[in-house]
Amino acid sequence: MIEDFPMQQIINEDGEIVDADALNDISTEKVKSFYYKMLCARMLDKKCVNLQRQGKIGTYVPYEGQEAAQIGSAVALEEGDWIFPTYRDHAATLTFGHSMRNLLLNWRGRPEGNVPPEGVNIFPPGIPIASQLLHATGAAWAEKKHGSDRVSLVYFGDGATSEGDFHEALNFGSVFNIPTIFFNQNNGYAISVPMERQMKTKTIAQKGLAYDMDCLRIDGNDVLAVFAATKASVDRARANQGPTLIEAVTWRYGAHTTADDASKYRDQNESETRRETTDPLLRVQRYLQTQNTWNEDWLKTIEEEITDEIETAIAEMEAYPEPDLRQLFDYVYDRPTWTIQEQVNQHLAVQGEE
């Protein structure tokens, strides 16, 4: 079966062009903008790991290694589209327009973290595995019913394919021909459990056959391949040609979260090797180098730019006003029930006494 789903690439690990036709559609400027976004995401991720160590944010979920998958897919969307991230997909949400400050506030345990800028359709990250897939179909179905050509894209991991909701969402998507891109980041592990114990199949793409759904497998570390495949799927969805299941094969370098110890279940040398070989940023760099469009000064400039942006966001996060009790009480319902109102009153009465 795996032969039926070859891993699609546009540029390979060494930065060599594999699919020149596909590359034609993508300007060097665009490639460089992808690189910029990936670098920004990576620098932010490293920073967050540090912030967690310093106790400035809580347990953090790193995505380092998966930048191409998240950014290549997010840039293929347009305004008015919808994305449904998991806890690991903030490279995607950042790319799609979430504010860096709110993204940081999320890791600081602040409800604002889930609130995207006005007009940007990003759902709060899905925590119960695979449950968000059904919101993605629902929201895209609404677009279709309202006659727009907007689509939704939902992120989920290899492990998520084991949940019933994965199946129900793909079935709904195919039965009602809903414009949703089911974007799987197969990073090889679900916490400690490798793909081989999660499923018998060697590909996730083939699961689309159970729904007569378009399905493909791409090199998730090739940002160009990710972009091109997602864009094609999005175009099809916009044209009412139905949903697509994309398997983007990738790898997380780090632990599952900052509370996880990856060395308990895998040899972390593998990650070190991969940094030298399949890394998504390095690959673009190599490609630009072979094209003679790589420039160390440019790199330095953008590194500085990004550092500034991140430092500003962190400063904003740190200066952010204290959490407000009303965030706990006022948004359970449109208007608090008497039960909640009474609880607020009691709470304030006692905590005032302290």
Binding site: L134, E168, Y333, W338
Partner: protein, 333 residues
């Protein structure tokens, strides 16, 4: 709420439910219905009969057998502008969709500080006494009253059903709308034409009385009224009977005012005693009316057992004798 000039029609409760949906489908294009066998078939209890023909398959949507899919998609649809009514064929089959209710439908508003909301009504027939197969007959209201972020409504007649269902569809938050199976066709009430609402959170005093306050809802309303009729005749006793109608939030004023008047209370429901909504009512009375109580509050409930197969179903349901005994116990305490 109802203008006196409006025409009324005698309806069964299932007709009241259908009529409410019809009104709202007519009024608002964003109202849609999703469920199993609700389209051409008109629903296994005919709640949606005729609606598919009238509003088409884009609005009256037969789904795959997939409760998580129904509720999960309704969340996405609702967050993006629709007002879905999700029909679960029997409440006993809502559990595969429990995760979507518990972790999403009820929390999305809070999780997003109001940015995304979920105006979904989940309708489900429920309760024992109609000889349904196993698992079809659960009364699990309290699984939902314990779920922050959703309201829980249970009508017992056509008039209430229509007014409460319209209010539920209009509500900006998720509502669990539970339809007692035994009430579907067992009685008819006058139902006004057109749109009217009954406030969620308001109980209905069915009968004034002085000696005891009897709280109940759903199908047990009929049984309670009947049991009390004989009791009052035989024992010269005056019972206040209150149909709670909304189980979350409970009608604190009505409940406490009644108990403070009568000094005694009994609660009648089908669900198992442990964890049943009766305990919340007791707790509310404890909080509001402790000094008024002249006897322990009585409960007549289902057992702490599953609803059995139908040969034993009548044993499971609170009987008139048990309701009467509980009331007598309280009054003679």
């Amino acid at each position: 709420m109802v203008s006196p000039a409006v025409n009324t029609k005698k309806m069964t409760m299932i007709e009241g439910v259908r009529n409410a949906m019809d009104e709202m489908l007519k009024e608002n294009e964003d109202v849609i219905i999703l469920g199993e066998d609700i389209g051409v078939n008109g629903g296994v209890f005919r709640a949606t009969e005729g609606l598919h023909e009238k509003y088409g398959e884009d609005r009256i949507i037969d789904t795959p057998i997939s409760e998580s899919g129904i509720i999960g998609n309704s969340i996405g649809l609702a967050a993006n502008g629709f007002r879905p009514i999700a029909e679960i064929q029997f409440l006993g089959f809502i559990y595969p969709g429990f995760n979507q209710l518990m972790t999403h439908a009820t929390r999305l508003r809070q999780r997003s500080l109001g940015r995304f909301t979920v105006p979904v009504v989940v309708r489900a027939p429920y309760g024992a006494g109609v000889k349904a197969p196993e698992i079809h007959s659960d009364s699990v209201e309290s699984l939902f009253t314990h779920m922050p972020g959703i309201k829980v409504v249970v009508p017992s007649n056509a008039y209430d059903a229509k007014g409460l269902l319209i209010a539920s569809i209009d509500d900006p938050d998720p509502v669990m709308f539970l339809e007692p199976l035994r009430c579907y066709r067992s009685n008819r009430t006058e139902v006004p034409d057109g749109k009217y609402t009954i406030d969620i959170g308001r109980a209905s005093v069915l009968k004034q009385g002085d000696d005891i306050s009897v709280f109940t809802w759903g199908a047990m309303v009929m049984d309670t009224m009947k049991a009390i009729e004989t009791l009052e005749e035989e024992q010269n006793m005056s019972c206040e009977v209150i149909d709670l109608r909304t189980l979350y939030p409970l009608d604190k004023e009505t409940i406490s005012a009644s108990v403070q008047k009568t000094g005694r209370a009994a609660i009648i429901h089908e669900a198992p005693a442990t964890g049943g909504v009766s305990n919340d009512v007791i707790s509310l009375i404890n909080d509001t009316s402790f000094l008024y109580l002249r006897a322990p509050i009585q409960r007549v409930t289902g057992f702490d057992t599953p609803v059995p197969v139908y040969s034993l179903e009548q044993e499971y349901l609170p009987s008139a004798a048990k309701i009467q005994a509980a009331i007598v116990n309280a009054v003679n305490f």
